[in-house]
Every structure is written in structure tokens, then in C-alpha cells.
């Protein structure tokens, strides 16, 4: 929903309310609740925009590929996946991938790794 449209509608409602009740000022709480009301009203009128994220599930490898790159879309996918299949998705970040690719390396060894000092100015 465009922010400018929301603001314009809220301003309009505020003006109406001030005139109607002959108020000089409207408090912050009333302003916020009015904004929520307007937002809910506008949301009912806005057409939903579909967004498609592709998913490929490698059942043998236990991997899920997805084109959902935004964190919002990813968390929606994680939620839906738990609901639909009862499986929790975990991002294949370096440490998790390391455990998967090099199972002979213990978790302690991986967790004990310290970042390299590559700052030549400190030498």
C-alpha cells in the first residue's frame, strides 16, 4: 500500500473528525488508532499482488532449493513448510554445510575455528 495514499487518507479523516467534533487537536493515541482503522479499510480494497517463489525439493539429499530470496518470503516458506510437512527448514550456512560436507570433522573442531587475522597494518 503506498505510504502517500495512507497518509492522505489519514489526514482527510483527521480533518473530518476535527470538524465534526469541533476539536482543536487530536491526541497521539487517537491518531494511531485512526491510522490503523484507515489501513485496515484500505487493505480490504487493495488487490493482492501475487509473488511466485519456485521450490525444488531433493528428497534423497534432504535439500530444498528455492528462489525466495527476501527474508520475508523465506520466513513465509519456512512457516508453510512446517505446517504442510512438519519439517523445519534450516539455512545451509557455512557451519552447517561444513558439517554436511566434512562429517569426519567434529562439531567441536568447527566451532573452535577462529577468524584469520588478515589485517596487514596490525602486523
Amino acid at each position: 500500500m503506498p505510504a502517500a495514499l495512507l497518509k492522505a487518507q489519514v489526514d482527510l479523516k483527521l480533518q473530518h473528525l476535527q470538524k465534526e467534533k469541533d476539536l482543536a487537536f487530536i491526541g497521539k493515541e487517537a491518531r494511531i488508532s485512526l491510522q490503523d482503522e484507515v489501513k485496515a479499510e484500505l487493505l480490504r480494497r487493495v488487490l493482492p499482488t501475487p509473488r511466485v517463489a519456485e521450490v525444488a525439493w531433493d528428497l534423497k539429499g534432504g535439500l530444498l532449493w528455492t528462489t525466495a530470496s527476501s527474508s520475508q518470503l523465506q520466513s513465509a516458506l519456512v512457516g508453510l513448510f512446517i505446517k504442510a510437512f512438519g519439517c523445519e527448514l534450516q539455512p545451509l550456512a557455512p557451519l552447517l554445510l561444513a558439517g554436511r560436507l566434512l562429517p569426519h570433522l567434529s562439531v567441536e573442531t568447527l566451532l573452535a575455528l577462529e577468524p584469520f587475522d588478515l589485517n596487514l597494518e596490525s602486523a
Binding site: L97, L111, P115
Partner: protein, 183 residues
């Protein structure tokens, strides 16, 4: 440990992996160093460097050849670390390009090699195969990096520092040769 904590804790490994790919791309023709692996991998024309110290927290180098630039080597030698890089992976006549993030090794803007199939199903199967193929090349490299990182960390750190030093020296020499008052 929660998954997000694991992501955060392993961030430095992703950064160092990007740096390793960068180093091997310039110093070893992009090879993985593994026997029988003819593929090559290079850092392409976009690199994002980050640091938590200093006045500049993020540096984006794009277009031209940032991987060999003086700006990049100077930033790395001051302790900045790669957070994201555009990577080019070659195997035979196939080429994959994508942006690789260090924190979660997440891949974006992936361009797969062209497929031969004409029907949608065949194209989908081809693309999944190519996706898997490209990721296998990348995982093989990550495995090679991790082995060196876990088994010989001092050697790898010294190799990276030596590469940075050499890169800085080469850039300084190139800059000195380009001085306008020098005949």
C-alpha cells in the same frame, strides 16, 4: 545452538571462503586444487567488502576488474572482508555466474548455462541438473577450502597474507609506473 546463531558464528568461514576463491582465481587460474577437477572459478566484476572498524564500514567495488584493483587490496589489507561477490564458474563449455553471499553462502542472480531442450518439462529438468552441477562444483571447492582451513590453518593464513602483500606490492608498482611525470 539455534540456526541463526550458527549462521552468525560461521559468517567468517563464508568470508574466508570468498577470499580463498578470489585468491585461487588470481593465483592458481581458478582451479580448486583437487585432482581431476578441470573447472575454474573466479571473482567477477562486483565485490562488496565490509568491516566493523574504521570510518568506512562497507565498500562496493563494481565494474571493471575490482578483484585485481588497488582499492580492493588496500581494503583487504586494512582488515575489510568480502561479504558478497559476483562469481564466475567455468566447466568445459558451461558457465555459471551468480552472486555469493558470505554469511549464509546464499546464491542470488544465478545465470545457468543455456539448455538444449525445447519443451518446458525438459527445460525444467535441464535447469535442475545444471543447478545441481554448478552447486556441486562450488561445494567441492568449499570442501577443499574447509579441509585446508581445519587441518592447516596457519599455512592457509600465511598464504592469504602473502597473497595480499604481493597484490599490494604489484599495485604499488603499477601505480608508480603510471605517474604522469615519469618518462
Amino acid at each position: 545452538m539455534k540456526p541463526l546463531e550458527l549462521v552468525e558464528q560461521g559468517r567468517f568461514l563464508g568470508e574466508e571462503f570468498l577470499l580463498w576463491l578470489w585468491m585461487r582465481g588470481l593465483a592458481d587460474g581458478g582451479t580448486s586444487g583437487l585432482e581431476g577437477d578441470p573447472s575454474a572459478c573466479f571473482v567477477d566484476d562486483a565485490v562488496q567488502l565490509v568491516t566493523e572498524r574504521g570510518d568506512v564500514k562497507e565498500l562496493s567495488l563494481r565494474k571493471g576488474n575490482p578483484a585485481e584493483s588497488r582499492e580492493a587490496f588496500e581494503a583487504l589489507s586494512r582488515g575489510m572482508r568480502p561479504a558478497k561477490a559476483k562469481v564466475r564458474l567455468l566447466s568445459g563449455d558451461m558457465e555459471w555466474t551468480f552472486s555469493l553471499g558470505a554469511a549464509g553462502l546464499e546464491i542470488s542472480t544465478l545465470k545457468l548455462p543455456p539448455t538444449q531442450s525445447r519443451d518446458p518439462q525438459g527445460r525444467m529438468a535441464d535447469r535442475l541438473f545444471l543447478l545441481e552441477e554448478g552447486m556441486t562444483h562450488l561445494e567441492r571447492r568449499f570442501q577443499a577450502f574447509l579441509s585446508a582451513r581445519a587441518e592447516r590453518p596457519e599455512d592457509l593464513q600465511e598464504a592469504m597474507r602473502a597473497w595480499l602483500r604481493q597484490g599490494l606490492e604489484e599495485q604499488a608498482e603499477a601505480a608508480a609506473a603510471d605517474l604522469p611525470w615519469r618518462e
